[in-house]
Amino acid sequence: MNLRPEPLAYELSAPGRCGAALPEPDVPETALPKALLRDDLPLPEIDELTAVRHFTRLSQKNYSIDTEFYPLGSCTMKYNPKVNEAAASLPGWRTTHPLAGAEFSQGALELMYRLQAMLADIGGFKAASLQPAAGAHGELAGVLMIRKWHRDRGDLKRVKMLIPDSAHGTNPATCSMVGFETLTIPSAADGGVDLAALESALDDTVAGIMITNPSTLGLFERNIERIAKLVHDAGGLVYGDGANLNAITGIFRPGDAGIDVMHFNLHKTFSTPHGGGGPGSGMVAAGERLADYLPGPVAVRKDGRFDMAMPTASIGRLKAFHGNFGVLVRAYTYIRMLGAPGLRRLAETAVLNANYLKAKVEKVYPLKYGRGCMHEFVAMGTVAEGVHTLDIAKRLIDYGFHPPTIYFPLIVPEALMIEPTETETRETLDAFADALVKIAEEARSDPELLHSAPHVTPVGRLDEVAAARCPILCYRG
């Protein structure tokens, strides 16, 4: 990584300097109307080479899975095989256009059709839609489907969604978007959903439950079938948050356990790039009850030809055209490359890696819920008086590691949520565990070293409170 401080583009500016030589105009020049001119927009004036160097140096400060270990809990920062890029770059995919029409797009439609079928099969569902462009978008699709299902049955009383406190943080926000109220269901002592609390919350105002399995504690919800049955018996539906699918592919199919609709993060489990704000894919799949409600259009096969069609009770369109198609090509490539046995092995290795790392880390960083974990585990940064998880996370940067997710889930104090994924070597896991152990020693011997970390980055510890309370959002000379 390039660790030298980089000046702002404004600081590189020199009056009159320019990076482009425009040709002489071949039409008469006319001055812009005075009312349209402004002099309060001090854009930097930079020559081409200075601009190229500036942005290249900035790009060298990027931290990515291609450069370092990235154990960001619940984000599944696995390696994205380069073969995905090769496949997505094939001219046939690259030059296809969504308005070309089905007769000119048979290959692209077939890929979508097959991908829908493969993902539905992986999750144990009847049908899938590739429309949603991100995980939270998929959640929105699923909850809208649940709402429409109740409305179509004339059941307008159901306005509440139950959400376990170990669920993904976006779930309550999704419910608010849809106009549902949320009711939090506490975790029991073993980290699973408190069944007594669930039962007492179930009545005829409950639209359903949103459940993340494995949960954000990295624990498999052992009562998932029981939970689904209780909710179904009370007239509700079950939304599955598929963010943590990486732990269970080829082993457990959520649809078989009674989940009615689930989103898949193709940019997590199925190795399409993420961490840069997109594009992603939060495609959704649904079982018997909700298959007809999927957003559309979806790819269909009629008389040996492929086309797009709207499911019969669809909630409608959620995305222009057909989802993020380039992402779909990458996910398809990945699934075909691994095959069914490979998908199972990826989950097994992800769980093995997490448990290996957990065994090394938990000697120093205690766990609130100690049982065997799935693809991730949540430790506590309670290693020394006066040192917090934030300090440990910042110090990890000095050791060349991206910090884990911190302070989430909220039910674990000083949480450090660590997800190594299946693509890391034992040496990398050892090096990360060693760094955490060393940092715990430093926390006791030299806490100031942690309080002032990071030390190796161009910018040190940021004042996050001032940044949130009094943000400066544009250049002020």
Binding site: T184, L390, F408, L410, P413, E464, V465, A468, R469
Partner: protein, 127 residues
Amino acid sequence: MKIDANARYRTSHEWARKEGSVIVTGISDHAQESLGDIVFVEFPEVGKTLKQGQTFGVIESVKAASDLYMPMSGTITAVNEALGGDPSAVNKDCYGAGWLIKFEPTSPAEWDGLLSASDYEKEAAAH
């Protein structure tokens, strides 16, 4: 952990205190300590009627955003606008200048179901 002996509490760490005919509510010292530096509070509309246990707003710190729950059913009569400019009062004086809302209770008997200061202290210490 500081406790206001005159207030009653919810296990979700809101406190409630009688001031004449209205109830004042905020978050406990334990809650502000766990959340860390508060950076934003989202308030309900004045005049809104909410049931006990419904969310009346959101409090956001550098660590997390948390829902705020009504300790009792009631109609919102005031929100602490001053926190918009400086939410740090919640950290500095959570039982005083850092209050969040005032409301007119619609089921005053709910007061008796809230935790006493000493019960809340035990509850908070256990977590």
